[in-house]
Subunit: 408 residues, 2 copies
């Protein structure tokens, strides 16, 4: 009887999630697993019978290489949540009858918090039913907000893109001999890890960003303007990095403050972003040139600018998941732990999925400056190793090559 495996991706895409997929696939083949299936759009693929055979797709080293540097989820994603109640087992039975019919013993799910919930439920159901099926979760999220693991695969590449872009934006803002304030809006509704990573832009040729506001700290327009004025005493062109999720003490998101009740000429509700709100605020209160920049989805999709450390680790997370499953583990998530030594090194292990699911990790106070408008040296020491090294995708006719299931 063949021994097969299946792998799926779930949650928001990242630039490194396919490196994990490559790690899972190559390690499974190394272990002699017969067929490796992929479920398209996460767990929905099994329910809707959208399955691919990865062995037929990843036929050469070149294709596996291209997969590693292809951004977004190669197998597609979903936000589907499995039913809580095992007593109505129709969905679960559909999934497990598929797995058994295909001789699948190992199930790998690459995703964030919600995806770990899927891993928890599937592994528990298999355990209760005594199915010989092993379910392992592999974390990914640019947001770095998963508990227990030192950091998440995907964060390093997003951090590198953000730091590089902020450095380039600072350079661009500085060419004219006049005062300006540039506000860069960075992803992270509840956790400020990515916004904090903008501080990595600082180096020999750059001291920007000058101010950093995280969602962990209540935002005050008054303090913000006072901060900008103080920076302007020394710097003509002020670079401010803000999380999309900053909100005032009373709980109002900054991005909502300008849009309530506004409609455009067509009568549509006018939605604005955090950077745009602050741009307008600076222009009105300080009277200087102001520009809001949203880094937007490129911070998670820029496959053209990857952290080598992140891509290699993302691949290793996938390999470790396979090793854990082959050891007979189930209902576990792979985590990375930083060894306490002078040079950076990550070691891998697994943790019970219950420890990981639904726990959100925000930026701790020791990483936030006492003035609450910057990060500390401790954060820089934490994050710097994660953006080291570069991996570039293959290029063809001037463009990066992506490995895809279909054209978009």
């Amino acid at each position: 009887m063949p021994v097969n495996a299946i792998v799926g991706q779930s949650g928001g895409p990242t630039a490194a999630i396919n490196a994990t997929l490559a790690g899972v696939f190559t390690e499974l083949k190394k272990a002699g697993i017969d067929t490796v299936y992929g479920t398209v759009n996460g767990i929905e693929g099994i329910l809707k019978n959208k399955i691919v055979i990865l062995d037929e797709i990843l036929t050469t080293d070149e294709k596996i290489q291209a997969l590693q540097t292809t951004p977004a989820s190669f197998l597609g994603s979903c936000r589907y949540k499995l039913p809580k109640d095992f007593s109505d087992p129709s969905v679960y039975e559909q999934i497990f009858s598929f797995l058994k019919a295909h001789d699948i013993r190992y199930f790998f799910y690459i995703g964030g918090n919600d995806s770990m919930d899927t891993v928890a439920k599937l592994s528990e159901y298999a355990r209760q039913k005594n199915y010989d099926i092993y379910v392992i979760g592999v974390p990914k999220t640019i947001d770095n907000d998963l508990a227990i693991t030192d950091h998440t695969p995907g964060f390093g590449s997003a951090a590198k893109y953000i730091a590089t872009s902020v450095k380039e934006i600072a350079r661009d803002s500085d060419v004219y001999d006049l005062k300006s304030v540039t506000i860069v809006e960075i992803m992270g509704r509840h956790a400020g890890w990515l916004t904090a990573a903008s501080a990595l832009a600082r180096c020999e040729d750059s001291i920007a960003p000058h101010l950093i506001y995280l969602p962990e700290i209540p935002f005050s327009y008054e303090r913000f303007v006072a901060d900008v004025k103080r920076v302007q005493e020394d710097h003509s062109n002020v670079i401010v990095c803000v999380s999309e999720g900053i909100k005032e003490e009373n709980g109002t998101f900054v991005c909502e403050s300008a849009s309530s009740g506004l409609t455009d000429v067509f009568g549509h509700k006018c939605l604005s972003g955090t950077a745009k709100v602050l741009e307008n605020y600076v222009r009105s209160t300080l009277g200087c040139k102001a520009r809001g920049i949203e880094l937007n989805v490129l911070q998670r999709a820029a496959g053209h600018l990857l952290s080598k450390t992140d891509i290699e680790e993302s691949c290793a997370f996938g390999q470790e998941a396979v090793k854990a499953a082959l050891r007979g583990e189930t209902g576990k998530m792979i985590i990375g732990t930083r060894t306490a030594s002078s040079s950076y090194k990550l070691t891998f292990s697994s943790t019970d999925i219950q420890n990981a699911a639904n726990a959100e990790k925000t930026v701790p106070l020791e990483f936030i400056s006492p003035e609450r408008n910057d990060v500390t040296g401790a954060f820089i020491a934490y994050a710097t190793p994660l953006i080291q090294g570069e991996i570039f995708p293959p290029y063809e006719n001037g463009l990066p090559v992506h490995l895809v299931l279909k054209q978009v």
Copy 2:
């Protein structure tokens, strides 16, 4: 008596303008020019006595290499316009007395339309006064809207960044199994060259963008929605690229249509972008997921993603400027002409500055599809050679290294 030269940069920054500066400098040194000065913030540097000696900065090949891949204007920029009237010569005499005092025989100015106006005036003044000073302009602009030259240095790298980013955005938009419309806003107030370049994203793994709207064609909300609906019949995730400068038949910019009369909770005028307006419009009229993305200043400042063709040509433009000046030419701008052969090749020459200054080149109708929502194969054939090849900046500690006059 020494023979010296000076060089300045003006207008909006690009990712390739410093490659031209490197070309000017290296060619001048090759020709045995004694001292090469740089004027900081364009012509304003001479008027405000902000001058650097490039020989003291560009001391190694490594530094010249780093300069070539540093985005934005190394010497800073300005928007200063010289007085029209020679009969009030105080500004002109200040400039030329500086040049003579420093034994400067050659003056190079790298910039766009306005900068060529400066070249025209300075060369004409020198001619009238019989000064032995030669003034040459070197074009740069991501907008590609300068007349006569086949294209402008800086356009190719911006086009490559845009095509790559649009491809990555398309990949990101496609991971979920649901309908979405993504609107990507690209620079170009009057000329649609950069927005047209988004079509270069199409390749074996991508057919996005599905719709392209240029400022050369009046925009119609009705046609736009009909176009999107038609594309949605075949594609769940529609990618639309629009120029920031699209406007309706009646002359109203789309980006203005939503902001007139709107104020935020602080009573400030609410300004929005073209993509945001169309995002809200799609959400309201079609009811599907919609997202507006502004590529913003990174499309001109992304030194981490450069076209090798563009950087090499930008450098060559600078070298050709030096050759022209040494031949005794003045009041000229360097242009590139594509030789009519099967493979792409650019040859350089100079043209009278009057032909170049203040003439704007928009996208011709032969490059725009009959349906007016796309570009033609002729445009693809024109633009494809300009994004070929990659040059990456040096990296240090995870970040691209920039050569700078001062930290920002």
